[in-house]
Amino acid sequence: MANIKLPKPEELSKIDHKPPQKRWMDTPAEFKQGMYCYGAKGKNLSAVDFPNARDWSPDDKDWKLPENWKEIVLEGMKERLGKYRSFHIFMDICVRCGACADKCHFFLGGGDPKNMPVLRAELLRSIYRKYFTASGKMLGKVAGARELTEDVLKELWYYYYQCTECRRCSLFCPYGIDQAEITMIGRELLNLLGLNTDWISGPVANCYMKGNHLGLEPHAIKNNIDFMVDDIETITGIKIEPSFNRKGAEILFVTPSGDLFGDPGIYTCMGYLMLFHELGLDYTWSTYASEGGNFGFFTSMEMAKRLNSKIYAEAKRLGVKWILGGECGHMWRIINQYMDTWNGPADFLEEPVSPITGTRFENAKATKMVHIIEFVADLIKHGKLKFDPGRNDQFKVTFHDSCNTARGMGIFEEPRYIIKNVCNNFYEMPENTIRERTFCCGSGSGLNAGENMELRMRGGLPRANAVRYVHERHGVNLLANVCAIDRAALPALMDYWVPGVKVAGVHELLGNALIMKGEKERTTDLRGDALPGKEGNEDA
């Protein structure tokens, strides 16, 4: 399985959206290489006490299920129908109008009818009808009900790991039926049988034991940031001294660990470091709560809560006043919609107030956690930051709204306000592809692995298409975003569909433009590329 060939873009873009003649219930899932991830490793499942921990591969015929697997799934469904009104209602009220069908990026980019959100939901609904409704028990197939067999279970696994929980379908559904919610619960059921992927269960185990998905140990976090500090000194002449696990700091800063490792995440991180230094912010990093993201969210609510608990626990231990969060997608859906409910109340913290402008963040007065984009938009509005947007003139920028911050929060104006202040050239993608209608990167919810590259390229096609539109029309060469998974996933997507477009976090652009007190004349941007007009002055 090491060499899964990715077809050429010309081949991949031949998409047939017409469903086959044969009815979907009579068509078992065909596992197509490049469309799914490796199975979870036993050691990663047992590290967090997940059931049925064993090495396992979806390619094997025998999935090493427990004897009573069917009972476990049905019992699990029953429990969740009683626990989640969302799940119960979404199982009952769909009228199959089809409004969601062409809203899913996986259906648009792949054409597999089971990736229409309505049908992806029907995969589970058909089981619900068979075992939990009178009509399904009596009428069977006529009522859209079917037996839960091993083939059906495999089909569920295949398609519930072909959904990025982006919620685009739920925006268009007349009843707000949210496939993300159904996928989350479907994955919980699969996790009761140990049916997870390597790409998700590895980071979960890492995050639980070491504090972050990448498994960076405390000294490695410090080392990585020290490297960035050195680079910043080279570029600006300014030496920054961040602190770690410092008690008594005013603010705890939490960001996804993707920002600490690898290109282009680290440039965003350099932007944070420069900003905080310039403000003289009294803040600390934590090596224990060193992950804003939460791959637990892609396994079960309980696991997500277990990982998320570290943020409040660390804020309490360090005695900070409030928490500031970096650029991330699903991290912010969790902070906005789950964190306080899981691990609150955060009554040991204070209502967040910007120490620079005095602005009270009323919208975060319960969770006590502020999005860095809100924090910075407020600073700019109060004239607290000076910029030289010309230092971003090498870029023609467009902005990708991340699914989670778009449809699970609604942060649209703030990032655009910042970009327009730090860049001179900004172009929007077509209106049906941005803001609440934004298209997913195709790699969210733990699907940004390597072995499922075809899936990712297909899922990302609608997004890439919209980028190509502004690339061809306005010469856009930079795709800005506020999400660590975007920064990890979009470069590959751009290279594949729209070569010549780079990917950057908003704070990388801010770092480029930020005029710092006492800085030397900059000749390069944060990536070390020569600034416009400074091409001759580069150090060798």
């Binding site: 009683g82 309505v118 049908l119 925006l171 405390p218 929060m409 703030e414 609608p462 298409n465």
Partner: protein, 330 residues
Amino acid sequence: MGAIVAFIAVIILVLIVLAGTGAANLHFLLGVIIPYLTFVTFTIGVAYRVVKWGRSPVPFRIPTTAGQQKSLSWIKDSKLDNPSTTTGVIGRMGLEVLLFRSLFRNTSSKLYNGSIFAHKWEKWLWMGSLAFHWSFLIVLIRHFRLFMAPVPSLLHLIEAFDGFLQIGSPGIFVSGIILLGAVSYLLFRRFYIPQVRYISLTSDYFPLFLIIGIALSGILMRYFIKVDVVSAKELIMGLLTFKPIIPKGIGVIFYIHLFLVCALFAYFPFSKLMHMAGVFLSPTRNLANNSRMKRHVNPWNYPVKVHTYEEYEEDFRGKMKTAKIPVEKE
């Protein structure tokens, strides 16, 4: 396949009435017992389903946010598409239920020249659904003239509007025509759009055929095969006052109409038609996006096993000290 089964089912319902009013002489069953049973099934069934949904809690505040959040004072928030207050939620729900806000947003995405997507506003489903639901409601309200004596003036007003065309005698009610047209469109798109055909179940076709049957029999009764309206009203008033009577000679078409209506209402609580009640309870639409401002409590929240800081420091104390990261225990 699903469509054929559903169509046959509706035909059988009609045949039952023909047999019942013909040789079997089951007028009392069709005109009295079945309407009463339907009423009981519908009310108890709907109440049961809603209570059952209501028993499942809403552990998390998960609105689908469809506009700018409320954050800084100088950024205009989207009060209806991303409400942060109860008033906003009521507004959002109002728009959803009365005007089908989400469906109004509908786009169709098509692929051109290989790999270029065009996402266009698609208004037909929204228009068809809106026409269908509103005309159905008006037709239903108009029928209250058969349930009420004297007929309230509001009903006269609705009838006046509905009959504005003033063609022929009896005057044509536009709502009935729109209802038949809209429901036919909804059926047509299930056949015509390949993706929708692929996902359609028998239970999607059945209510459509049933409603077409109801609308057709109603139109036939009003304009073509006249029935004795005074007797029909007598029968209905008899049901309402619990003094059921079966007036003679109302006409078979009336019984067909009544029986199909009963079938629809009796089927209601067991089917997707429950979306009428469900939409109000949908957690992605009926909650304010204010969970950072106001704590939302999960009634079944329970303590979980976590990896504490102390355990973490145990694992890494040496490395932390070497890297000059502060520790709790030296």
